[in-house]
Point group: C2
Chain length 201, copies 2
């Protein structure tokens, strides 16, 4: 039987490398990560996944050059707009008190308590694990993550929700995020269904 993860974490890494390989400025990569995010969402929903959490950007990412910060901030606003258009439940977690937090996303920072059967999509925006910890783990409304899929070849969490990922299986895609293909998700799901889930037991 095919065991499907309930909740997948998405680390969409490699936008800047993709831009460089394609002769663009680094900051032009993020825009090319938007449609992949939407296609992944639709594919995951079709395959029975109930919840997705995207790693948008972190407090530390905001120390990058201004052109990049503006570009990923804009891309996150557009991403949320696209995702809302899918009729899913959207929840944004991050430090809203710093100027790096895009104002357009403030309306999404409270999670509805109702379980309305819709897919749930969380986005970490201006997130930081130390910020999360200092605030008594304010990401606690995001539940345990079964599998983390990371694009761009690195095998690391980079501060992505330390408590929700303690038992997650990590699947790494070598391709860069803007080169997302549904086949990546299918391969990850197939791999996941072969993992022995013990939750530390």
């Amino acid at each position: 039987m095919y065991r499907t993860p309930t909740h997948i974490g998405i680390i969409p890494d490699g936008n800047r490398r993709w831009a460089t390989y394609n002769g663009l400025n680094k900051e032009d990569g993020y825009e090319h990560g938007l449609m992949p995010g939407l296609r992944l969402l639709r594919a995951a929903e079709e395959r029975g996944v109930k919840e997705l959490t995207y790693y948008g950007f972190t407090v530390d990412n905001c120390k990058r050059p201004k052109a990049q910060v503006n570009a990923f901030s804009d891309a996150c606003c557009k991403a949320v707009e696209l995702i809302v258009g899918e009729g899913v439940d959207v929840f944004v977690v991050g430090n809203t008190e710093s100027e790096c937090f895009p104002q357009c996303l403030v309306p999404y920072t409270t999670r509805g308590r109702e379980q309305n059967g819709k897919m749930r999509v969380n986005l970490l925006i201006n997130y930081g694990w130390e910020w999360d910890m200092k605030n008594g783990w304010c990401s606690r409304d995001i539940p345990r993550i079964d599998m983390v899929i990371r694009w761009g070849g690195m095998c690391r969490l980079s501060g992505f929700l330390p408590l929700q990922t303690v038992y997650s299986d990590f699947y790494i895609v070598e391709d860069l995020w803007p080169d997302f293909k549904e086949e990546h998700l299918d391969a990850a799901l197939e791999w996941y269904s072969r993992q022995d889930v013990t939750l530390g037991g």
Copy 2:
């Protein structure tokens, strides 16, 4: 230039599978993981690694059948004895207040403050990430981990020091832990030296 990790986390998984494949009872696998642990320590020290943290066993592991619990508990006592014999600094972190904690390891649960230039070797014994968190992260004397190497093919942390591993690179060895070879460490170090360390930036 060859970039060496300062601090490596070791998840020595696969002892029970190894025992089964070799026609033994599951609990007989742990004993076969002892010498690999010592050989790894020596090899890491030779290669300039300054600190190792071994995942011994967890609070949750203690729910396993008694024969297994006794076997891994004994193996951990013997492991510490062997490691102490190497003249390194030994530090044990775990819940000393439950009966599952081996009494022989109590003397190692306080860390010396002196930096005496010796290699530092930490072991998590009767550790639990929730226990760690509830106690104000009492593992805080163990510093950030640069790379985690896990044997036995799984790509997950299984509750291993959530805060120290936020920026760690994870290297997975397919072979089971009792089949440890120095080549595994060399491959991991070679791989690590090719990773781009950003610490979330």
